[in-house]
Amino acid sequence: MQEYRTTRDGVRGERPLQAWFDVRKRNLGSWAFAINRLTGMGLIVYLVLHLIVLSTLLQGEQGWDKFLEIARSPFFLAFDIVLIFGILFHGLNGIRVALIGMGIGAKNHRSLFWVLMFIGAVLLVVSAWKVFTI
């Protein structure tokens, strides 16, 4: 169902926020955009957390080791996989967006997407294996 809001132009059907993530009846490009935006927002949050966490180094060896302990817990490692997924998707889809924005492969954006996602899937599996075995 459509959503309506009253603007100075009168009533109109539009979903300024939902439109980013509402992928019902939508196609590959919208999924890519929605996930790209989600992972982007996630990565910003992670970046802030990362910078804060590094400040524990200033508290000397003890503070850092406490963090290392948490970071090596299985829960945290699972979180690492989510993070790596986010990085891979955002990065590889970003390559696609940058390329077609420069006029390269604009016709074949779908195949480009799937090739990059295949690379991403392989890298994700390899990194997951790395994360849990290292």
């Binding site: 459509q2 539009e14 439109a19 006029g103």
Partner: protein
């Protein structure tokens, strides 16, 4: 003939109301009934106050665009029985002011679309092996764009930015760059080169997905980006013009 009753759930709205509602109608369909013909039957037999736009009935004029089961389509080429749903939900296009029922105000669309000035008869690229009759410079044909607004309705950016130029207008701008025919390609490029122009696109390709006429606005927007980026590189590195 396979006759079948199909329920239509149609969005209704009249000037002065604040919230639209839905009415349901049952329509007899056969295997040739299009969504548009069904809606015209509703207007004829059930409710003469139902408003909708239509003209050519074969996907050439672009007036009968609407959201059918949540997808932007030209209702005149949507076969009702092939939709396969027992209820067909019909809604007006998004990202445009609602006039009444299935009619939206196309003025904001055309306000963008007329710029840059765009000839709509172009050189025909079909049958290159054919001779052109004496006295005729070259074969011509109409531009693909039907000005139907489906792309604008499907675009996820349109609702976020009231000033966004939108896919149809930028596709037209790219046509001017690709084949100027007396219009000014520099103007077209500059026109699209801003925050509300080709740089705003998020590459969801929905415009291209819903386009009923192979215009491929997404590629056009990316081509504008590409051309502008190329020029930027040339300017920075002092290559060529």
């Amino acid at each position: 003939m396979a006759e079948r009753d199909v329920v239509f759930k149609v969005l209704r709205y009249k000037q002065g109301e604040t919230v639209p509602h839905y009415d349901t109608f049952t329509v007899k369909t056969d295997e040739n009934t299009t969504a548009l013909v069904a809606l015209q039957a509703i207007r004829r037999d059930d409710d003469p106050s139902l408003t909708l736009r239509h003209s050519c009935h074969h996907g050439s004029c672009g007036t009968c665009g609407m959201r059918i089961n949540g997808e932007e389509q030209l209702s005149c080429v949507v076969n009702v029985q092939e939709l396969g749903t027992p209820t067909v939900v019909v809604e007006p296009l998004q990202n445009a002011p609602l006039v009444s029922d299935l009619v939206v105000d196309m003025a904001p669309f055309f306000d963008r679309y007329t710029q840059p000035e765009m000839p709509y008869v172009r050189q025909s690229e079909f049958m290159p092996e054919a001779d052109v009759p004496d006295g005729i410079g070259h074969y011509t044909r109409y531009e693909n764009c039907l000005e139907c607004g489906l792309c604008v309705s499907a675009c996820p950016v349109m609702g976020s930015d009231a000033s966004y130029l939108g896919p149809a207008a930028m596709a037209a701008a790219w046509r001017v760059v690709a084949e100027p025919r007396g219009s000014d390609p520099e103007f077209a490029l500059n026109w699209a080169d801003n925050e509300h122009g080709c740089w705003r696109c998020h590459v969801a390709y929905e415009c291209t997905e819903v386009c009923p006429s192979d215009v491929n606005p997404a590629e056009a927007i990316m081509s504008l980006r590409g051309e502008l980026t190329k020029r930027k590189f040339r300017r920075v590195f002092g290559l060529g013009k």
